[in-house]
Symmetry: C2
Subunit: 190 residues, 2 copies
DNA sequence: CTGTCCATGTAAGGCGTTACATGATTGT
DNA sequence: ACAATCATGTAACGCCTTACATGGACAG
């Protein structure tokens, strides 16, 4: 659906090769949109066909040529349209919730092991987000500050989402350990 | 990846037709795992090939026959293995974060419109979760209570996740309206 | 007589993953 | 000598979506 747009987004910042794009994804987008190497190359071919990007080919003898991709005006427009169009409802797919939903078929110990593993993953993710907090940002211009702001928002989201998730995981772990099989809201005197 | 397991999960509760499965998904799993009709039928065929389900065919003259699917012992075992195996890291794909990440290319008004739409969707989702809270549950046996508990957990998750999301969306909306382009954590005197 | 429910499927296409394949250059 | 980095791709397969197609039964 949107790898195309992610690529156009990066190319709107600067022209680069497929290889550089892959690095851009890994460095700054992998937390909310992973970029698969072979898919990046296939998508670049398609974007070229669609005239959303131009290619500059540098031959290298018997090696495959290096190709530098640039966004075209039409690509820029396409990107802008996508960026400014609200998305509408999107399907949710949470395999862990699927496991929990059928948790009745497992023993408490088995469920606790699942939860524990999920807690460990979440704590790891949180550590990584914490490490990315407050990168060395010297005084910037107002426009720069605004650009940086938007890219930092994705980290903010990751932090909040994972913190909430971790709290919830811990709470269900505790309830199961106490064999207290009640939903949280049944306790609150609403 | 897991529609197979979701189907096996439902069939482990009772045998049913593809049509009934679709209704089961819509009624109780669509919040964390949507079940696409045509995919359900194709997956049932595959599960049959794998001997994870059995089919009971009821001919109906010139109509397509009705087929009742049941889980086999081997299917039950496969399900149990999947349910009790921790998942490991899974990729995240959040198109809205992708839009925000490149928000620097949009005007404040355009970004605010995106956020507003996302807020509306989230409020809607929250309303639906609220409506599902506390369904009429007469006194149950201990085992029943445990089973219900696990299925209610998915609603709990939906509530918490959406509440957190909504709070965050509101906070970024306010910051943009105030033209205060600072990440939240840069304010906290850590 | 119109629409909703019951009940089944096929076809085509897009998106994503994994594995495989090549080969120069640079650093340890 | 060996590994990492630079740089490109193909092939095969799986999952998911959308659209299309059929047709009886029953309720308003």
């Amino acid at each position: 659906m949107s790898l195309q747009h992610a690529i156009l987004g990066f190319l709107s910042l600067r022209s680069m090769t497929g290889y550089d794009l892959k690095k851009s994804f890994d460095r700054s987008a992998s937390h909310f949109w992973p970029g698969n190497q072979s898919q990046i190359y296939r998508t670049l071919s398609k974007l070229t066909e669609l005239d959303f990007v131009d290619v500059d080919v540098h031959e290298r003898g018997d090696l495959l040529p290096t190709k530098t991709y640039s966004i075209t005006p039409s690509g820029r427009q396409h990107l802008h349209t996508w960026l400014s169009t609200p998305l509408g409802e999107r399907p949710v797919r949470e395999p862990f919730l699927l496991q929990l939903f059928f948790g009745g078929l497992l023993s408490d110990d088995e469920v606790l092991a699942l939860i524990q593993s999920e807690i460990a993953l979440t704590e790891d993710a949180l550590k990584q987000y914490e490490a990315l907090k407050e990168p060395p940002t010297p005084p910037e211009s107002k426009e720069d500050k605004r650009k940086v702001f938007f890219s930092l928002l994705t980290l903010e989201f990751g932090l909040h989402a994972n913190e909430t998730y971790l709290r919830w995981l811990t709470s269900i772990k505790e309830r199961i350990e106490a064999q207290d099989y009640t939903a949280q809201w049944t306790k609150e005197p609403s």
